[in-house]
């Protein structure tokens, strides 16, 4: 089984790159005009989960970005998905 050091050697640079990209994305949205929508708020709510003391942060982030309702929808108004639930 790889050690923590092995995993860092394999994936640290990739994680670093994605973290900086996320920070740059938040800066980019902020400096542009207009109103953001529910997707930005969903992302903001999920980000603190990255520092949660739990072994399943990926699952927690996915759950946070999921539609919390349980009943089937009456109709589909769109065919695609946004990546975050509409409030």
């Amino acid at each position: 089984m790889p050690t923590k050091k092995d995993i860092l050697d394999l994936h640290f640079m990739d994680a670093r790159c994605k973290l900086i990209d996320l920070a740059a994305f938040l800066d980019r949205v902020e400096r542009h005009p207009g109103e953001a929508d529910f997707r930005l708020e969903a992302l903001r709510q999920a980000i603190p989960l990255l520092l949660a003391d739990r072994p399943d942060r990926a699952r927690a982030v996915l759950e946070s970005l999921s539609d919390p309702s349980s009943e089937p929808a009456e109709k589909a108004s769109i065919q695609f998905a946004y990546g975050a639930p509409q409030a």
Binding site: A58, L65, S70, G83
Partner: protein, 267 residues
């Protein structure tokens, strides 16, 4: 690397991709019926699509020495109009006896509507009536968790269903336990941005009992990689998985599930 691509939409891919798959060691390709990227305008359009899946595509794959199999259905993106979907479903039985048909798939939900759910259940009943295996698509992104739960609840209403012959595809960290704990097989799709990355799929393999898990690329007309499975095998090697462990996930697991389909044979 010897492996099986258990979920690829080859009708959307070039012949060059078949060559790449053959060179990479692909031993078989399985192609579920899918959405064309636009809604077909008539049920007859599906007749041609089923001919393509059951006749033309196996011949194209055979030129590269790869057996090609398919699953048939109307996909959930076109199931919102239940009347249209039922007209298409009426065509399916005439193709089910073709020699490369594995079963019914990829059925499932897209936007988790009542109509989609009704058509999903009618497909499950068709599979049961014909004693066929089932491949299930789970919805995208924010719809996946709810859709997975809805389908698991629905499947519980089919007491005659053999769960060993049902694979629920596109699982991620928040749905894999739901599927495996219910006794079904689970597929992990290596798809850019919207599904699993190789690293995350390997995390799931490392944290779950992997006997009922497979990997697929689901390569289609979108930005996707027909070599994603074999590239994930390479990532497993970097993560110190043994050659035996890699072959188990990339070849033996899909072979074990697919061998339950009478038409599945490796060359």
């Amino acid at each position: 690397m010897k492996y099986i691509e258990p979920h690829a939409h080859m009708v959307s891919r070039t012949t060059d991709d078949y060559e790449k798959l053959a060179l990479a060691g692909c031993q078989a390709i399985c192609e579920p019926a899918f959405w064309a990227g636009f809604d077909r305008s008539s049920p007859e359009g599906f007749r041609d699509y089923y001919r393509q899946l059951t006749d033309y595509e196996p011949k194209r794959a055979a030129k590269f020495g790869i057996p090609h199999f398919c699953w048939l259905c109307i996909n959930p993106k076109e199931a919102e109009d239940a009347g249209f979907a039922r007209e298409v479903m009426a065509l399916i039985p005439e193709f089910l006896d073709q020699p490369t048909v594995l079963g019914i798939g990829e059925i499932g939900l897209n936007k988790n509507t009542r109509s989609e759910l009704a058509i999903f259940e009618e497909h499950v009943q068709l599979a049961l009536d014909r004693d066929l295996a089932i491949l299930i698509h789970t919805p995208h992104l924010e719809d996946k968790l709810k859709g997975t739960r809805l389908m698991l609840d629905s499947l519980a209403n089919f007491p005659g269903l053999d769960r060993d012959r049902v694979i629920i595809d596109h699982v991620e960290e928040h749905t894999v336990d739901l599927v495996l704990d219910a006794g079904f097989w689970a597929g992990m799709t290596l798809y850019p941005e919207s599904k699993c990355t190789p690293s995350r799929a390997i995390d799931i393999l490392e944290t779950h009992e992997g006997a009922r898990l497979w990997l697929n690329s689901a390569c289609d007309w979108g930005v996707s990689d027909p070599l994603a499975v074999v590239k994930c095998g390479f990532e497993m090697k970097k993560r110190q998985h043994s050659p035996g462990q890699i072959e188990q996930v990339l070849f033996e697991n899909p072979k074990r599930f697919l061998s339950q389909c009478p038409n599945f044979r490796l060359g």
